[in-house]
Amino acid sequence: MKKNKLFDRKIIKDSIVQSFVKLNPIYLIKNPVMFVVEICTIIMLVEVTYSLFTAHSSPIYNLIVFITLLFTLLFANFAEAIAEARGKAQANSLRKTREETPAKKVQAVGEMYMDEIIIVSSSQLKKGDVFVCETGDVIPTDGEIVEGIATIDESAITGESAPVIREAGGDKSSVTGGTKVLSDKIKVKVTTEPGESFLDKMIALVEGASRQKTPNEIALTILLAGFTLVFIIVTITLKPFADYANTPITIASFIALFVCLIPTTIGGLLSAIGIAGMDRALRANVITKSGKAVETAGDIDVLLLDKTGTITIGNRKATHFYPVSGVEEQTFLQACLLSSLADETPEGKSIVELAQAKGTTIPTNYQQAQVTLIKFSAETRSSGVDMNDRRIRKGATDAIRKLSEKAGHPFPKEIEEQANKIASGGGTPLVVSENEKIVGVIELQDIIKEGMKERFERLRKMGVKTVMVTGDNPLTAKYIAEKAGVDDFIAEAKPEDKMEYIRKEQQAGKLVAMMGDGTNDAPALAQADVGVAMNSGTQAAKEAGNMVDLDNDPTKLIEIIEIGKQLLMTRGTLTTFSIANDVAKYFAIVPALFVASIPALQGLNIMKLSSPESAILSAIIFNAIIIPALIPLALRGVAYKPIGASALLRRNLFIYGLGGIIIPFIGIKIIDMLISLVF
């Protein structure tokens, strides 16, 4: 899903066809503003036909009004169609991955429950079925690995070419239909019914088929319907007023006045804005389960972020080695190196890297030596190696301290001081012992990602409080929190702590967003107002959240919040623009309606429009073409600037409010000049 151009030829062609299809009143009735425009268009069609046979009004003028109204409708439909088409284009690329794939279903046969593999179509897989995937197979549907480990190419859905590892058990056990197994063999249990898989849902959403109006959209529709009603009253009552003043007004003029006054601009663009919002989320590789979730994201007050991978680069890295006095540096380095050879954790690897960079090599006798690798266990809370008679261990300060004190060696004071110094500097001390004697301490440091401070500052200006969640001790957590610029932290966090924190904030009326991947995150993801699950996460996490991030990028939430805000802002500013336009339209149409019988009202014609007919036509033509003119804005969204709510309101009021008053004056005048050139 790479970014595509705002409009491409095929999309435009499809959308034009759709604009006509969408003229169907059954479809249009969902949008009250455009529906009344359609009624007006039909009335005008009757009026055009009628005026052909009677001489009560000019058929040509009527025809132009009719055509302009028709185009107003088509433009509005086009806006929606193009937003949908862009979504559909994305959906199609997704759907390609959904095409029927053969699935190797595991079937229990006979009384022996011997498993037999039969080939079925992916659409025949039901929830609970188990299938097998081997190297080169496309995974037929969403599921959870029950057995095995595999590298998987998820580029079909994420666009990311680097393969990922998925394995049974743990937090990386879920696979998505459409992705491809690159190596090894896995047994997968189907987690969704056919047609309900993640991709199916996503396709339906982006195509707009299952798009439901969000609460804000409903409220706005009511507001717009209210405005429409006001102007129905204004237009209908004008008839007796005009009769009283002996000023006959043609049906075409009544309809022109009405259509110009009702908020057709926002009415025509409203659904396009909503679809485009979800589309933007999709472009950011985030799949939302509903449009509401995107809107809610814009309201988020508190953001919970995991430290590891979000604020800091993946894992801690070794930065310094401090040997205890009396131990040669190279000796210590070698001990460190040996202790980490079997350590597959990123921390362990970083120790090896750093030690080697400092010139230490693996002792030559290593190959012949009798080596026992000691894996980290929760019991000893240390790991290391037994090489011949050397017992090298490394671990947390208190664990190694216990070990050495048990053997009757004192714990050096300088090491204790050094360890504390490291901890208060945000690092993690790892104490190393050889034969239960302390030889030194390794400093591991968290590396804060670049640009995080600026991002948190931006969030703060948006009014979002950031909270770092970490398993570190409070001292380390505090240091990193301060360094990274987050507002708060949860140290030594257990999954329940997250949940507790979310509840507490929600009780205070805040909206909370969080990102998670593990099964133990699922309750918190469900509790949070916006829960973003990583695509690599477990099925449980994905089910619990209301968005899934295909890139597994923990900082994605920041983008989502901005997308949510943009969505609301685009609606708000275009509503303001649309209503502000009425001022100029009034000044074009009202004098035109009455000037024939009340010449004094020429004084109201401040735009000096050439004739009443051209004034009315200019206004409705402007009203029609402003819709396609604003489609790019509706699709792209109004730019969000974190400058504080009042400043933002000032800015938008200036651009879209004042602009909304001035632009139609200019536009109508230009159209009028063009019309008077023709006629």
Binding site: A245, D301, K510, K565, Y586
Partner: protein
């Protein structure tokens, strides 16, 4: 034009403003249930009455119960007034022997006093007895003002920072408004009027011999008390037919000041009371600022056009250096009369000290606009209720504009609130335009019906004004309209009824629903509603909703007249 006239106008405004701040503080105290100096006098009386009526005034009620209490008691008052007005000829205190009212006139009169409008399709001298004046009309002037204030008090209560459906007690707010706020102020005003010559007597007409030597019958009555509450309660119904242009109702320049201050003070003070009550003074200043901006934009053109004189009359060779004095009292002058005409229309008083029919087209336009907006200061209590609707709509649009679900005072504004707000905003437009449209239709098809003294644009303005005044619960008349006919009595009566209670029910319902919603504390992303920027937004919403929908109608009335006169 003399500068002293303009200085006078500035004095009216600033005097009111300075008096309104302490009064606002006092009103906030009253509604917060704090002790006041008047408690020792009124508490025992109130307790007795509440006991007799079986009302527990300490019981907390939700918004529905409060509204039910409000509507029921208003219904009772309406029936009572109908009865008195239709039987006044035999009831006591009728020294001039005025006849009973017809049913349609009694309907219109009762409604219009119940709803704080005082449209008055009768003339006080010949249309009502003293008994009716005191026990039907003056009584209603008190209770209708107190009803509006009590409704505002329920709103204040609902806006507090908490989650609850307990919004105080209507009866308590109502009685406190009448006894602690309206009554003491009325006593002050009526005493001043009394000393300046306003009559306060139960005797019938007096006889005097005019300078020409004719014997003239002069109506009088208990006017001083009546005129006080007429202004304090923003009622506007005159004791005499010509209202405050009458020398007994408004004897001199000083009483003119007092009456002008009196009608403006509670609407001003209610805004500050909101700020004190909620401890959000900046919000009060925002509201006051927006209202004042609107007021200045209306009052300045009105005063300028009045002091500028009438070009049509100037063309006849009549001196216009004193301003357009046709239909005005010499003792007040053009500027003060222009100012009054806007004060009385922005606030729903509707008392007049000059003939609005004779004001210049620009003044007519601004008077109409003032009532069409109906939320600049506004009537006793209800002004703030109307303004609240505009705030809700402004919050909604601007909330979207800053990319956040709209919220006001920590409560989210959602579809239901917008629906109610739109119904309220719509009803005003609907009542004015449909009423005028029907009247225009009837008149166009039956020109002989004899409603209008002036056909043409001015006649249209007269009809438009009548419905606007009714729908704004204002009660002033453009006059020149033959309005004591069943058509006008009944149609404006219906308009009055709807336009009073929809804008009370709507805001209270919204506030009640919001009060029960989750409270969201402010964050940096929250749009502050007590800023100038937001004020500007509210102002824009007012202009768009209230002013724009009336543009075509105004074009055929005062605007066409203005351009024709040039």
């Amino acid at each position: 034009m003399s500068y002293t006239e303009l200085l006078g106008v500035l004095l009216f405004f600033f005097a009111t403003f300075l008096l309104a701040i302490p009064l606002g503080k006092y009103i906030a105290r009253v509604y917060a249930g704090e002790r006041t100096l008047l408690d020792p006098i009124f508490n025992p009386i109130e307790r007795t009455f509440f006991k007799l009526c079986g009302i527990d005034a300490t019981k907390q009620m939700n918004w529905k119960q409060n509204l039910l209490a409000l509507l029921t008691i208003n219904m009772v008052w309406f029936l009572m007034a109908m009865f008195i007005l239709m039987n006044q000829s035999w009831l006591p205190l009728n020294p001039d022997g005025n006849p009973n009212m017809t049913a349609d006139l009694a309907f219109n009169t009762s409604i219009s006093f119940v709803v704080n409008c005082n449209l008055q399709h009768y003339s006080g001298e010949s249309g009502v007895s003293y008994f009716s004046q005191i026990f039907a009309l003056m009584f209603l002037q008190f209770v209708s003002a107190a009803t509006g204030m009590a409704a505002a008090a329920v709103l204040f209560n609902a806006l507090r920072e908490r989650i609850s459906d307990q919004l105080g007690n209507f009866y308590n707010y109502f009685v406190k408004s009448a006894t602690r706020i309206l009554l003491p102020l009325c006593i002050i005003v009526s005493v001043i009027l009394l000393f300046r010559g306003t009559p306060m007597t139960m005797e019938g007409k007096d006889t005097m011999i005019s300078m020409e030597g004719d014997t003239v019958q002069v109506s009088r009555g208990p006017a001083a008390a009546f005129v006080a509450i007429k202004h304090i309660g923003t009622n506007g119904g005159g004791f005499f037919g010509v209202n405050s242009a009458h020398p007994f109702e408004n004897p001199d320049y000083l009483t003119n000041i007092v009456e002008m201050v009196a009608q403006t003070i509670i609407p001003f003070a209610m805004i500050f009371a909101l700020g004190f009550y909620l401890k959000r003074r900046k919000l009060a200043w925002m509201i006051f600022g927006v209202m004042t901006l609107g007021f200045v934009l209306l009052v300045v053109p009105a005063i300028l056009s009045e002091v500028g004189g009438n070009p049509a009359i100037a063309a006849m060779g009549v001196d216009q250096s004193q301003g357009a004095m046709e239909g005005k009292e010499v003792r007040f002058g053009a500027a003060a009369s222009g100012y009054w005409s806007i004060i009385t229309t922005v606030i729903s008083t509707g008392s007049v000290n000059a003939m609005h029919d004779s004001t210049m087209p620009v003044s007519g336009l601004t008077q109409l606009l003032a009532m069409m907006v109906n939320a600049i200061y506004g009537g006793c209590g209800v002004g703030i209720l109307n303004f609240y609707i505009y705030i809700i709509l402004a919050v909604f649009i601007s909330g979207l504009m800053v990319g956040r679900t709209p919220e006001f005072m920590g409560k989210k504004i959602e579809a239901r609130e917008i629906k109610i707000a739109m119904i309220v905003a719509l009803s005003h437009t609907f009542l004015i335009l449909t009423g005028t449209a029907l009247a225009s239709f009837v008149f166009t098809n039956n020109p002989e019906i004899g409603w209008l003294n002036n056909p043409g644009f001015h006649g249209f303005s007269e009809m438009l004004y009548e419905y606007t005044s009714s729908s704004a619960n204002n009660g002033s008349g453009f006059e020149g309209l033959g309005d004591n006919t069943p058509w006008w009595n009944i149609s404006t009566g219906i308009v009055l009824l709807l336009s009073r209670f929809i804008p009370i029910i709507g805001p209270i319902a919204i506030a009640g629903i919001l009060a029960n919603k989750k409270y969201i504390p402010e964050s940096a992303g929250t749009l502050k509603t007590d800023t100038g920027t937001f004020g500007l937004m509210v102002f824009a919403v007012i202009v768009i909703i209230a002013a724009l929908s009336f543009f075509p109608a105004l074009t055929l009335g005062p605007i066409a007249e203005y351009f024709s006169m040039r």
